[in-house]
């Protein structure tokens, strides 16, 4: 197991380096730069500014300087667009916000999705099953850019229960709508995966054996059905978790949460190279980390898998 982890980390470092190099190259290949504007700066002035930020150097040197700054001082550089902020500040502000609503969305998605799928599977072909399947399909096809404005109309304008947006340090009132909007489609996927894999497990011979030897339904369900049914769910949860906590630009746009997703997309439009790089590295590292954790969980649940 330890060897496996070490091996995976050994692969992770070059993966991250390739990601950085490719992103760095693609970013600079896009036309225009951070200082391209409708009112173009005189060439000499532009040259001065680019020199100040080291953008006049060859790309490979810029990349090495950038990486050196991260490795030696954990400095992701200044933002070219927001002069009073560094990339470290932008990430340390935006990431906890994204993490918080992402984490709660994850909990809600699992907390609702797995029971919903399980009930549907156990009560197969009853009205409960049809309702659960109906709800999950509805939630799946309702995209969050439709859901978010609807939630605001209902809960803010009509009912006056919740603030229409903002974050306010992450108070629960500000968290409810982002979490609902973000979690529904994940919840729906989890419910459907749980239902189909549980149906498969329920039809296996060892469950039939358990039933025939007279084990109580509860014991059969929790001891023999649940764990194997969750295997496909776990493999879905790894990437889903990374997706949830690395930012949703739509949630940030509709609910003014100030999370990382909007900064990321905006950085690409603004050619804010350092912000784009910084967030790419964070997201890349998290993706690698959580796919490793998902693999380890998989081994823990499935005795057939050993590393």
């Amino acid at each position: 197991m330890i060897n496996y982890i070490i091996k995976r980390i050994g692969v992770a470092i070059p993966t991250l380096l390739i990601l950085i190099a490719v992103t760095f190259y693609l970013m600079h290949a896009a036309p225009g730069g951070p200082f391209t504007s409708e009112r173009p700066l005189p060439p000499q002035v532009l040259a001065n500014i680019e020199a100040k930020y080291g953008l006049d150097q060859p790309i490979w040197r810029q990349m090495i300087n950038y990486l050196w700054g991260i490795l030696t001082e954990f400095d992701f550089g200044p933002s070219y667009k927001y002069h009073d902020r560094t990339v470290n500040e932008i990430i340390s502000h935006g990431f906890p916000i994204t993490l918080k609503y992402g984490f709660w969305s994850f909990i809600v998605a699992i907390g609702v999705g797995i029971p919903l799928g399980a009930i549907a599977a156990i009560r197969k072909n009853t009205w409960i099953d049809y309702l659960a399947v109906g709800v999950s399909i509805g939630a799946q096809v309702l995209p969050n850019f439709v859901m978010a404005p609807l939630l605001i109309i209902v809960f803010t304008l009509w009912l006056d229960w919740l603030p229409g947006g903002g974050w306010n340090g992450g108070e629960w009132q500000y968290l409810v709508m982002p979490v609902i909007a973000l979690s529904t489609s994940y919840m729906a996927s989890i419910a459907r995966i749980t239902r189909s894999s549980m149906l498969e497990v329920l039809n296996t011979n060892y469950i039939r054996t358990a039933k025939s030897k007279g084990l109580p339904t509860k014991v059969i369900f929790f001891r023999h059905v649940l764990k194997p049914s969750l295997l496909p769910v776990i493999s879905y949860l790894g990437p889903a978790f990374v997706g949830l906590i690395t930012g949703s630009v739509l949630i940030d746009i509709y609910f003014s949460t100030g999370g990382m997703g909007y900064f990321f997309v905006n950085a690409a439009f603004n050619r804010d190279y350092s912000v784009m790089m910084g967030i790419t590295i964070v997201v890349g590292a998290l993706t690698i980390l959580f796919s490793l954790i998902a693999d380890l969980l998989y081994a823990w649940i499935d005795p057939k898998i050993r590393y």
Binding site: T156, Y262, N266
Partner: protein, 542 residues
Amino acid sequence: MNYLPKSLATGFLLAIFASSSVMAAATHPVTGETLADDQTFTYSLLDEFTSVDPQIVEDVSGSDIVRDLFEGLMNQDADGNLVPGVATGYTTNDAKDVYTFTLRDNAMWSDGNPVTAHDFVYAWRRLADPATASPYSWFAEIMALENVGAVMSGEASPETLGVTALDNHTLEVRLSSSLPYFAAMTTHSSTFPTPEWRVRTFGNDWTKPGNIVSNGAYVLTEHIPNERSVRERNSMYWNDDATIIEKVVALVINDENVDFTRYLANELDKGTVPSGQFIRLKQDYPDEATSFPRLCNYYMTFNLSDSGPEAFKDVRVRQALAYALDRSVITEKILQAGQINAFTFTPGATAGFEVPPVAFGQMSQSEREAKAKELLADAGYGPGNPLSFEYIYNTSEGHKKIAIAAQQMWKEVLGAEVTLANQEWKTFLKTRGSQDFELARGAWCGDYNEASTFLDLMTTPSGYNDGKFSNAEVDSLMLEARTMDDASANYTRVEEILANEMPTIPVYHYAGVFMLKTNVKGWPYNNVEQNWYSRNLYKVAK
């Protein structure tokens, strides 16, 4: 034992004091209207502002905040007229290339330091200094400050810039060329003073709440990026007694429909009108939905450089395309928010600019279309040899609708084959700036309220003349206009030349739209630049 009665007495006195001060603030000192108890003004921004550093800020929403936090030499009143700010007045020489501003002696920074001429000298040098890397340094260039080019390029030190503090309250500005409207430029946020001692202490962090010191009617007390910023009344401001709004909250709301919903839910005093909905909202909320002309134009520019298509070198082709465009369809059917059909480059709302009766603006649309067909046929295009070209615009639903409408009009009237292409903003700027296009979308918002801010774009040396139009008469008229007290005759002549030469197709002049609650008073509806100051607003009791 003594403590309780004493504290009660103090509480009682405080209560009397508080209630009397509320009563004193309860009516407007000039109009006598009853004021609301809560004088918090909340409005929305569609995007996070770039900075509140006067020399760095580059967007309109940031400039609105900077105008509250800092005060420049001159201000604008509700009609856009020039009124004293930190300066009580100015004098200028006959050549209009030396301006001397007299500063008031009671202007203070929020930390109690006096505002002096040195603060302006520092700020203006900082704007031009390449070390600041200001995206707005070009403003120092159009201010024509003496030696600005050499300073900006790093060839001369910022100390050589044509601005000097003769004493603490006298600022002398020397220009490299005559500028009759120079004083109006000092209402622009990039010319506002900056507290050198804070910049030196905190570097780029000086604009953060807690670090920032400002000389305007408000101070920044809270800023959460992409969420909200709060500015509160500055008790050190020289005219603080006249301020009524206590607190201004700016919320960042990226989606205009959500913005409007939150406005309806009374979370905002001022909100956005979702695009294309102005007509409906004006009916439902006649006192809240507002449209006003803006100093911005929307045009299409022909590439007249060597890399441009041969067809556009023929003035008849350019005219035919301009004539065939039915502007009313665009303004009345697509945009629907009070935009104005444009036949000139300069918007009619610009101060001192009379829209000249250019010939094609006087015709009816059917006359224009008949003329367009004739012109194109004369130029040798027709069914056997259709005109074909590509029109590029930056990616946006609004631009796309206009492009499709134009494509259709040119097809129907002229039989032209037009392909449309959209590009992401920075890619688009690069393409247009390197003359790698045939016909491209363009738009320009005035930097100051004077026609030259638009017409200078049509001169040969202009860095923003992406179509590379060049006309010796336009160049000399615009050069001459710089030194004239009243240059309107020159501007009229330039517009006539543009209508004949048609280097660009004027499409429409912008209108701004917003929703404003009826209890908010003092909004400067007649200020075409929409330079608003929170200190002039107030909320009346409902």
